[in-house]
Symmetry: C2
Subunit: 298 residues, 2 copies
C-alpha cells in the first residue's frame, strides 16, 4: 500500500516537473525521491510520470492521480486540524442538561451564548432533566454536563460526580398575595413555622427539600408538607391557589404569577448553589474547556 510520504513526494514532483527541484523542496536528496516515486508507480501498476532524461511530464493516469493525491492529503490535513481543535476543546459534541429551575436563571442564556461564540464548532445537545436524573445520566455516559442546584458536600447519590459552583443565589419565600404577611419585604422562616408548605418530591430535587428541612430545624420546627409538584414552576401555581408556601431560588422572581408574592428570607442559610455537574473522571477536552469558560469570571 502506498504512503502519505509517497503522495507528498509525487505531488511535489508533479508541481515542479523535475525530480531535482522537487527533492530540494522536500529537503531530501534526489535518489530516494526517484525510488519512492518508482515504488509508488510499482504499487499502483501505472506509470505516473513520463521522464525522458531531459524533462518530466505527467502521463494521463498521472494527472488523474495527482488530483486524487491532493484530495487525500487535504483530507488528512483537515482531519489533523479537526483533532487539533478537539484537543483544545474547540470541536466535538457536548450533551448538556439543566433543571427547570435553572431556565429561570438570568445568567444561563448569556453564558451559553458566550460559550457558543467561544467554541462554535462544538455541537451542543440540550435537554431538561431532574437533578437525580442528571446524575444517573452522567454516570451511565448519556450526559456530559448538567446545570444543577446542589452542594459539593452531598452530591445526590454518587461520589463520582464533580460539582463546580458557578453561582450562589438567595432563596425567597413564595406566598399568596392575600396572605397576612404579603405586605412585608423580608421575613424569617420561623415566622411561618405553622404554615403548610408545597415542595418537589425529595427523589427529584433533594437539595431544595433538604435545605427547607435544615433551615426549619435551625428554627426549631418541622415544616408541614401539604402538596407536591414535579416542576418548580408548578409549586408557584399551588402557592397562588393558596395550597401553601414555597421556598424557591430568587431567580424565580422573574415568574410574575398572579397571586404570588416573593419575600426575601433573613435566615443566613437561605441560599442555594448553582453548579455544573460532570463525571469526575471525564477528561474530555470539550468538557474541560466548557467548565473553564463557565467558571471563569468574564
Amino acid at each position: 500500500m502506498f504512503d502519505f510520504r509517497q503522495l507528498r513526494y509525487f505531488v511535489t514532483v508533479a508541481e515542479e516537473l523535475s525530480f531535482t527541484r522537487a527533492a530540494q523542496r522536500l529537503y531530501i536528496s534526489q535518489p530516494p525521491l526517484s525510488q519512492q516515486i518508482q515504488s509508488l508507480e510499482n504499487d499502483l501498476g501505472v506509470r505516473l510520470l513520463e521522464r525522458n532524461k531531459r524533462n518530466v511530464s505527467l502521463t494521463e493516469p498521472g494527472k488523474l492521480f495527482l488530483d486524487q493525491a491532493r484530495q487525500i492529503l487535504d483530507k488528512a490535513e483537515e482531519a489533523r486540524a479537526l483533532m487539533a481543535d478537539a484537543a483544545t476543546g474547540f470541536s466535538g459534541k457536548l450533551r448538556l442538561a439543566y433543571t427547570v429551575s435553572v431556565t429561570f436563571h438570568p445568567a444561563l442564556p448569556q453564558m451559553l451564548l458566550r460559550y457558543r461564540r467561544f467554541a462554535p464548532q462544538v455541537n451542543l445537545m440540550l435537554s431538561e432533566m431532574y437533578t437525580e436524573q442528571q446524575y444517573a445520566a452522567l454516570l451511565s455516559g448519556d450526559l456530559d454536563v448538567g446545570f444543577v442546584r446542589d452542594e459539593p458536600e452531598h452530591p445526590g447519590t454518587a461520589r463520582n460526580i464533580r460539582l463546580d459552583v458557578i453561582d450562589r443565589e438567595p432563596l425567597v419565600l413564595a406566598l399568596p398575595t392575600n396572605h397576612p404577611l404579603a405586605a412585608r419585604e423580608s421575613i424569617w422562616l420561623r415566622e411561618v413555622a405553622m404554615e403548610a408548605f408545597v415542595v418537589q418530591p425529595r427523589e427529584l430535587a433533594a437539595t431544595l427539600y433538604d435545605r427547607l428541612a435544615q433551615i426549619a430545624a435551625k428554627a426549631n420546627f418541622h415544616p408541614l408538607i401539604r402538596q407536591h409538584a414535579q416542576q418548580i414552576n408548578g409549586l408557584l401555581v399551588l402557592v397562588a391557589a393558596g395550597m401553601g408556601l414555597a421556598l424557591v431560588p430568587a431567580s424565580m422572581r422573574s415568574v410574575n404569577l398572579n397571586g404570588v408574592k416573593y419575600l426575601r428570607l433573613e435566615d443566613p442559610d437561605a441560599y442555594m448553589l448553582l453548579a455544573l455537574a460532570s463525571r469526575a473522571d471525564d477528561t474530555s477536552p470539550v468538557l474541560q474547556r466548557f467548565l473553564n469558560v463557565m467558571t471563569e469570571p468574564e
Copy 2:
C-alpha cells in the same frame, strides 16, 4: 505526520475495542500495535482511546477521528481502484479525431459504440480534422488518436506517427448520371483518361490525391484537375454539377446525391486504407486499449 498504516491500525482497534484482537486481525503482535497507536495519538496531540487495563473505549475525539480515518482510507482505496482502471485503459480520457470521409464509413459508429460499452469510464472527446491536421495535433500533444485514410508506407509528414490499418476499402468513380458511361457497373480508370477530375487539395488529403495520380500513371496518363473542394462530400456536389469526375472511397455510396452515379473500378490499386493514427511513443494504457479494441476482429 501520521501514516496510512496507523490509520488502519486505529480503525481496527476502534472496531474490535481490543488491542489483542485487533493485533490478531492485523497479523502483527500486540506491542507494535500499542506503539503505533501511541505514536498516532502523540502526533495528533489527542487521546483517541481510553484504556483502563481491562477494556478499551473511544474518546469523543476518537469517535470524530474514526470517521475521518475511514474516509481517508476509503478515498485512498478509491484512488487505487481508479489507477487500476487507468492502468488497464478503462478510465481516463481519449481525444479522438476523424476526417469527413470517415463519417460515411458504416463501421465507425458501431466500433465507437463497442468501445464505449467496453470502457464506459473513458471520456471520449471527438473532433473533425483533416488528415494533416491530425498528424500535427498528434505530434503537438493535442490529440491522442485519429481516423485517417493513409498508408503506413508514407504517413503524411512525420515518421513519429504510428498507423494501424483497420479496413481496406475499394475506391469508386463518381460521375454525373448524364455521363455516357453512367449506365456501366464497373470501369477502368483509363477509360476516363481524357476527362476532368475534381479533387481535394493535396495539403489536406495527400493520400487520395496521390492515389489518383498513381493509378493514372499506371494507365499512362496524367489526370486533368479542374476543380478543388475542401471536404470530400463537396467533391460529389461538383460531380453532380458536371464539373468533373471524382475518386472516392466506396463508403461514399451511402451519399445518395441526385445526379451522381458510382462505378466500381477494375484497377487493382483502386483501394484505400482506413487507419488509426497515433503517436508512436504514446504508451498510454487508454490508447493501447483503444487500439486493441479497434483492431481486434470481433
